[in-house]
């Protein structure tokens, strides 16, 4: 941009320091030095000839003004140097007028430029900063409510969405260092390329803050990993949907919940991150209930199912267990049905508590089924302390659960393996495992009071022919 040679000052009347330097600007002009003054709020201020109305703030934006007054020296159409605020000696040497500002205090700090005020900064960036978007722009018809318009177009999961406007998208994209056109993969069922821009638009609609973006992006990456089998998980008649578990320092930074009501409502990050993933599947992938999503029942967690692990316990965290370096943040995705509670207020030793949890896990899918769905067991703090006080690690507790869930084959009516289903298990001898090796995942979370744990079974189709849990580092 070609600048007017000489001096440029940027001021606003609302700033006491700008009022203070008004006679100074007049004396610069009277000295014959070329002076252009951009005024941000009052076009009649200050009383100098070279005054230009910048209430639209375009010049302030293009000059990257953060503080007023700013005084810039321009030669050959380009900026040479600038000073901010009022410091008498600095202005004297900058202008070469040694007597400048006689009678004024020696120093006064400047004020914030109007061009960097919240909401104004992004509007200016959108208007003048070349903010380019690829998504189609749709005009909400006059007299139509914007939220109702989103419902009408089928963009909602049944709850109101935040209308995805340009300023909101601009702010959301500031939450990631990835460029808006970076493609994360193909979203089922329609296998549509998913750009960061579309992720951000859906994150806006879900109600996310920009700082949730890295978590949303990692969750999407995990969901699109072929091992997770998102297409099948979406299309199945079974209840399941994706469940996101977050580990590492980002939990605290974005204010996630791993304490009371951890699996429930009330925390913005938990609620909106899970919702963003589901809106992406719906809107970008085209996965609508009763169409590609053929679930017989679904469950309330298909609106959003996302929580953080309590990492204040002696157990190894889920992230570390799944190969993420300590101190790093990660998401782990599981297929998940609704929650089945386990109450045991009597057990004071781990063996007894394992028997209780195993007894409840025995009913996952059906009490007569072996090789059932994988299951996550969320161990509450009071149950967790029973293990901690006895010095049991997560690995020990998990192994003990598997052992307690070796079931006499003769007690089982149904198998889920093809090889077994041809012959009733009840005709066999010996023990069969209720869950496949690695099919039980223990996680620590929940409120302080309550000798409870929570079982979250997953999709019937697990393993290489169905879904496996997937963990991704949050970058």
């Amino acid at each position: 941009m070609e600048l007017p040679n000489g001096y440029i000052a940027v001021v606003k009347r609302d700033c006491p320091t700008c009022l203070l330097v008004e006679p100074v600007l007049q004396s610069i002009e009277q000295s014959g030095r070329p002076l252009t003054v951009y005024t941000q709020d009052d076009p009649n201020f200050p009383a100098v000839r070279g005054r230009i109305d910048d209430t639209e703030l375009e010049h302030s934006y293009r000059l990257a003004i953060e503080t007023v007054p700013t005084l810039i020296l321009v030669a050959n159409g380009a900026e040479e140097k600038r000073i901010i605020g009022w410091e008498k000696d600095e202005w004297a040497s900058f202008t070469g007028i040694t007597s400048i500002g006689e009678g004024l205090p020696t120093y006064r700090p400047g004020c914030g430029s109007k061009s960097v005020e919240p909401n104004i900064a992004e509007m200016l960036a959108i208007r003048h900063g070349g903010f380019k978007t690829s998504a189609r722009k749709l005009e909400v018809p006059e007299l139509e409510d914007d939220i109702e318009y989103c419902f009408e177009r089928g963009w909602s999961d049944g709850l109101p969405v935040v209308p995805p406007t340009l300023p909101r998208l601009y702010r959301m994209l500031a939450g990631t260092s990835l460029s808006a056109d970076y493609v994360l993969g193909l979203v089922p069922p329609n296998l549509v390329p998913l750009s960061i821009e579309k992720v951000a638009i859906n994150a806006v609609m879900a109600g996310c803050k920009p700082e949730y973006m890295p978590v949303v992006i990692a969750a999407v990456e995990a969901a699109l990993d072929p091992a997770f089998c998102l297409h099948g998980l979406l299309a199945t008649t079974w209840h399941s949907g994706p469940m996101i578990v977050v580990n590492g320092p980002i939990r605290e930074r974005i204010g996630m919940n791993w304490k009371g009501n951890v699996l429930g409502q009330g925390n913005r990050a938990n609620s909106t991150i899970g919702r963003a993933l589901q809106l992406i599947v719906r809107n970008v992938g085209g996965g609508h209930p009763q169409f590609a999503d053929q679930s017989t029942f679904g469950h309330p967690g298909k609106l959003s199912f996302c929580f953080a692990e309590d990492e204040s316990t002696p157990w190894q965290t889920l992230g570390e267990q799944r190969g993420i370096e300590a101190g790093r943040s990660s998401v782990s995705l599981f297929s998940a049905d609704g929650v089945q509670g386990v109450v045991d207020q009597n057990s004071r030793d781990p063996q007894s508590l394992i028997a209780s949890i195993a007894g409840t896990l025995r009913a996952v899918n059906h009490v007569d089924i072996s090789n059932a769905s994988d299951a996550v067991v969320v161990v509450g703090p009071e149950h967790g302390r029973v293990f901690d006080n006895a010095g049991w690690t997560k690995a020990q507790a998990t192994a003990a659960l598997h052992e307690a869930l070796l079931v006499p084959a003769k007690d089982l009516g149904m198998g889920t393996d093809d090889s077994e289903s041809t012959k009733p298990l009840s005709s066999r001898n010996g023990l069969v495992p209720k869950f496949r090796p690695g099919g039980l995942q223990l996680i620590r979370a929940g409120g302080d009071a309550g000798l409870f744990s929570a079982i979250i079974p997953g999709w019937l189709m697990k393993g290489p022919l169905g879904t496996d849990p997937v963990t991704k580092e949050i970058r």
């Binding site: 638009i201 609609m205 992938g285 085209g286």
Partner: protein, 92 residues
């Protein structure tokens, strides 16, 4: 200026909502005849009703309390549940 929203979808649907496809036949459909309470709308719809019944078509009659306001929600729901297609008498 109208509010501009960014499309969150794969953009496979048209930007403007399309009208429903034109009907090829009224055979077997239930036709709602909606009188919006403008004067002589009933005369017009009586004639339409008679002509349709001559052709063996099934009609149902509805009436808005006043043409000056949008139809009450109950009436809209009733028409949507009972009819496949609606003929509205608009002018005097």
């Amino acid at each position: 200026m109208h509010q501009v929203l960014l499309d969150p979808t794969a953009e496979l649907d048209p930007a403007e909502r399309e009208p429903l496809p034109k009907l090829k036949s009224l055979e077997g459909l239930t036709i709602g005849l909606l009188d919006i309470s403008k004067s002589r709308g009933d005369i017009f719809l009586d004639r339409i009703d008679a002509l349709m019944q001559q052709r063996g078509l099934k009609t149902l009659r509805f009436k808005k309390p006043t043409f000056t306001r949008a139809a009450p929600t109950e009436l809209l729901q009733q028409i949507a549940q009972q009819c496949d297609v609606v003929v509205e008498g608009l002018a005097d």
